[in-house]
């Protein structure tokens, strides 16, 4: 991972759509989750931003959060446990 790399985690049908449970992205410039989502994820995930929850380093965050190098971003679908 370079200085600007972030790790992104996918679960459930999102992992199916991305063909991965974990991907590393190199960001040429600082981005919020919302900006990162539109540029890198929306095509693959096929559901709009409002469909997801996000956590960074295991804390819930909102889409305005500014991603930092080394962050682990989780893209979380609606839960269905139990």
């Amino acid at each position: 991972m370079t200085n600007n790399g972030i790790t992104v985690l996918f679960f459930s049908f999102a992992a199916d759509r991305m063909n991965a449970r974990e991907k590393i992205y190199e960001l040429p410039e600082p981005l919020s989750i919302q900006e990162f989502f539109q540029q890198y994820l929306s095509t693959g995930l096929r559901e709009p931003l409002e469909s997801w929850l996000f956590s960074v380093n295991e804390e819930w965050v909102d889409p305005q959060y500014n991603l930092r190098p080394g962050d682990a971003l989780a893209v979380v679908p609606p839960v269905s446990g139990g």
């Binding site: 985690l9 679960f11 459930s12 559901e47 469909s51 956590s55 295991e58 269905s80 139990g82």
Partner: protein, 146 residues
């Protein structure tokens, strides 16, 4: 006499959970055990696959248990969620609560399982009897197989 929160691929041991919530000051233990059913919305199923964000899910189980102890007059809480491939009949989730009295024990156990099902990052995929599979949280919902 401990609180205990676990995401695991191993089978759930209810006897061990009861030992953990055991306390001579408590007279009421309420336990909820969720198991995999052989059908969902009228369609035959062979079992479920549970995906999870394990570290975050386990942290969330602890948050739920601590909130239960704040809100209800209970002594101890155990919440265990099993993940991975589970056949019909297998226990997927356990919420066990001990309290001095039964009203608090029941109310806390009910609130606990409601929150586990709605808040914890865990997702299930149904393995239909026809051989297809489907995520419960999939946006296309019923009928879709991906």
């Amino acid at each position: 006499m401990v609180d205990y929160y676990l995401i695991t691929e191993d089978s759930i041991d209810i006897t061990e959970a009861l030992t953990m919530i055991d306390d001579p000051a408590t007279g009421a233990q309420a336990i909820f055990l969720g198991t995999v059913r052989d059908e969902y919305e009228g369609r035959k199923s062979l079992g479920l696959y549970y995906d999870a964000y394990p570290t975050m899910a386990q942290t969330h189980l602890k948050k739920i248990g601590e909130a239960m102890k704040q809100e209800f007059a209970i002594s101890h809480v155990v919440i265990i969620h099993r993940i991975g491939e589970l056949p019909v009949g297998a226990a997927s989730v356990l919420v066990a609560v001990s309290a001095a009295h039964r009203e608090a024990a029941f109310a806390a156990a009910k609130a606990g399982i409601d929150r586990v099902k709605s808040e914890v990052p865990i997702w299930k995929k149904e393995h239909w009897a026809d051989g297809s599979s489907e995520w419960h949280d999939h946006p296309d919902h019923s009928g879709n197989v991906e």
